[in-house]
């Protein structure tokens, strides 16, 4: 199954996003099979929120996700040195990256 592919199977597979604290971004932690979003949330709670901290869950049908194509991945690679964009010397950047 591919992202964005509209197949009968894709309608019943939901990507689950877990948020650890209200200040964190939701992170994709896995998938659940479910007939609808409500059931997906019910099931996601025990699959993905029973060990790690969690304040909020999102579920998204795979067929509702639009995605780039892996064939186009080369366009995501810079052709010349773009390290000047990284901004790694900014203190805020360092704080953000250190958390990961």
């Amino acid at each position: 199954m591919n992202l964005g592919e509209i197949t009968p199977g894709a309608r019943h597979v939901f990507a689950v996003f877990r948020q650890e604290t209200k200040n964190d971004a939701h992170v994709h932690v896995g998938d659940v099979h479910a007939p609808d979003a409500e059931m997906a949330l019910v099931l996601a709670k025990e699959q993905f929120a029973r060990r790690d901290p969690c304040v909020n869950l999102w579920v998204v049908r795979y067929c509702d996700i639009d995605a780039t194509r892996y064939e186009d991945a080369d366009m995501l690679e810079p052709a010349t040195d773009k390290s000047y964009r990284f901004g790694g010397s900014y203190r805020e950047q360092q704080r953000v990256y250190r958390r990961r």
Binding site: V32, H33, A34, P35, E38, M39, V42, L43, K45, E46, Q47, R50
Partner: protein, 269 residues
Amino acid sequence: MTGLWAAPDAPEVLREGPSREALRALLLAMADDELMLGHRHSEWTGFAPDIESDVALSSIAQDEIGHARILYEQVAALDGTVPDTLAFDRTPSEFRNAILTEQENGDWAYTIVRAWLYDHADAVRLAALAASPLGSFAALAKTLQREEKYHLLFGNAWFTRLAGAGGESRARLQVALDTAWADAAALFEPTPGIERLVDDGLLHRGPAGQAALWAATVGPRLGALGLEVQVDQAVLAAAGGRAGWHTPALTQLLDEMTSVWRTDPRARW
């Protein structure tokens, strides 16, 4: 053993006498209910209809057995017994669980119907305890309510889908409802002395009031789903479990559940 919950405060009324005995009987019945249903739920591990529900129901089983342990600790604190002994070393007739919770799992429809009816009843029962002026018991009930909230979500989600799916799904659900209903109403069979707790103001609502509130909660939901049940006949219909009367299903359950413990009752786990 280290308690999972702080020792109960012991107001004058609980030091001795009928209220203490009545509270012990209520907590024992609640603990036995949770242990039996937790064990039955755990029997689905590896066999539920889908992997996600398998994990979810297994977690719920762990929750219920954890609740049983907390409640046994409170019983033990009141009567000087030992929680493990209460759970593993009693004969079937010494258990006070409602018969509903010991019945075999049957099919998935029965499991969901039973869980749904039970969790709604448990919510009413816990609410009565949560409103008690006995601070530590009220706090204990509020702690258990947090996990029970999810049990209700899970049960509601499955129950409404099985009912709405039509065909064999709905037919099985109706059969399960017919099978489980009288046993579920008997969850409110009074434990010894429970009216005394109400009279003393230690319990917010007695068995009859709890049963009525439960029927008023599940009845309209069943109606909205077009499911039929004889609500008026069933309230407080069958008695037995709270007096130690049980079915062969409990003997079978205890044989299985205590098999490891019985190999060496004095072992420390």
